[in-house]
Symmetry: C2
Subunit: 366 residues, 2 copies
Amino acid sequence: MKLLFKKLDLIEGINVVMKAVSTKSSMKILECILIDATEGFIKFTANDMDLGIETKVKGEIKEAGKVAIEARIFSEIVRKLPDSEITFEIEDDTKSLITCENSKFNIQIMDPEDFSPLPRVEKNNKISISQLSLKNIIDQTIFAINDAEKNKVLTGELFEIKGNKLKVVALDKFRIAIRNIELKEEYDLGKVIIPGKSLNEISKILNGGMEDDVMIYFTNNHILFDLGDTVVVSRLIEDTNFFDTDKMISSDYKTKIEINKREFMDCIDRATLLIKEGESKPVFLTIKDGVLDLSINTFIGTMDEKIDIAKEGEDLMISFNPKFLLDILKVLDDEKITLYMTNSKAPCFIRNENNSYIYIVLPVVQ
Amino acid sequence: MKLLFKKLDLIEGINVVMKAVSTKSSMKILECILIDATEGFIKFTANDMDLGIETKVKGEIKEAGKVAIEARIFSEIVRKLPDSEITFEIEDDTKSLITCENSKFNIQIMDPEDFSPLPRVEKNNKISISQLSLKNIIDQTIFAINDAEKNKVLTGELFEIKGNKLKVVALDKFRIAIRNIELKEEYDLGKVIIPGKSLNEISKILNGGMEDDVMIYFTNNHILFDLGDTVVVSRLIEDTNFFDTDKMISSDYKTKIEINKREFMDCIDRATLLIKEGESKPVFLTIKDGVLDLSINTFIGTMDEKIDIAKEGEDLMISFNPKFLLDILKVLDDEKITLYMTNSKAPCFIRNENNSYIYIVLPVVQ
């Protein structure tokens, strides 16, 4: 086997599959990239058994072959080579030879037959969505899941497809993030729960193009994202008893405010300075006609700040964990956002007119 | 007390003195900045008892006064305030009031009388040097000291002034870094040993201007750097038995090579990829006419690379700890550098023609 790459093409290929390389495994083969040039093109694969990524890499095949190489050292070496043509070849059964200008590296290789291929995913059930939409719905909900949660369902996101609607839900015990988007076609595929870790990695690979579509295929156990030159397969969380969030959503409210997102976010951000690490302190919101008064009182000191708002309905005093509000405000693009509240003990809704996003956050009850 | 600042002026002042704020002290006052507006101008001071910094800050005094405030929280709040005018005032004996646009903070203050002023340094013995030169000599030698060294002398740098010459020496058990520079005037002040930590912080404050001079004053116990609006005072290391490096320097050699610094550095950098963290492995240099062959052999793999050189004298095989070479190469600005060697067991000298820099590094003896 002998392959020729431009440095940048090689780095791009490594970067894509690197996200599925296991970092702390007892099986060395899970820390490898499979380099396969037996089918007339060059394909890199990584598979940590939860997530698998396969991508085509630009390069010239001088001699076909297949090999597994430890991903981290391969990546580091390529990155530090001169910006020039890189030759990758198999020297013997135990080692590869990487050459670039006057530099030669011999690196251990592993038997490609030990490498676990990606699981086969039947391509019956599929939806199509733009890279931009998929990236947005992941990035705008993923903060609400909790990786360390014992209840596995809470470490994943619900993707529910009904007709031409995709609903994505992430939640923990204190808040819910929901995104509703319209698909170009009608499907009826039901629900799957995708591990948050997989979604995080997929989001990093998506270039966010409005024009580039992702085909998504489902089975009972796996989900496959086909990005064209790159394919990502993730294990699903096997539990269909996701929380029924429809029951939790209400359009009743007694207080509605419209506020500048940036001002609200910066103000809460300043308030959090007074909270010591590891400490939990609420921010107090006093809502009156035309003005929201945000205050905090901690051992370090006090802060008080006024922000102009448009208010409908009743005056209200309500407290929140500032982190929960910040997480939501950080992912919203809107200049102005709307909060719907009922009383100081009921959930607060942050949503837009067409419900394309709905965030629910519980207040702190004193 | 009531002071008005532009946000950027206030941040600049805080940043300068922050370097002398104690981070892990049992005395809360050492974590404070003293804000003094009793002498017709605004002065910030921080003093962790090893290093003290005092700087004038631009601002308007509405009402004179003096107060100590916890540096970290003050700094964080100012940074997150809107980019607007900031008012700082004392509300009562226990708290300050920081106001900016619609935002108000009350922060605890401390009695300014508890704050330790900077030590008085007699201004008899002084030298003058440009900020650029001082910054260079610190940055190009400081890597050779070892902060964790039990022998306190090795945690500092020797500054020796004789005639119009300043010699700066830093060393550990394996290497020596020496910078010789000419001063504009003649002095005869002898030697002092300055703690490395102080020099590190001073280097960060120096703007590196060629035109801006620093006045340096010495006593037996302290050194004072006067930068104009900012004054830095450091404790000295009380031990005048610094290693006599003159004895270690020799101009004899059997092999002299001239090499492109960038190529040499990048090549060693690549070689270090094959060294596992915590492991120590030498790089092997095989020096022949016109070419240096650099190789390394570790558990991960092997690397071999050739670099064009100009050689005088004998062929040589010699090994080095790659980190020690990298540390030196990183701080050198020269495009080409010269190495002088005698044999595989004797120190290697990296120096320029006029000896303005001399680096000595011990080879690894197999």
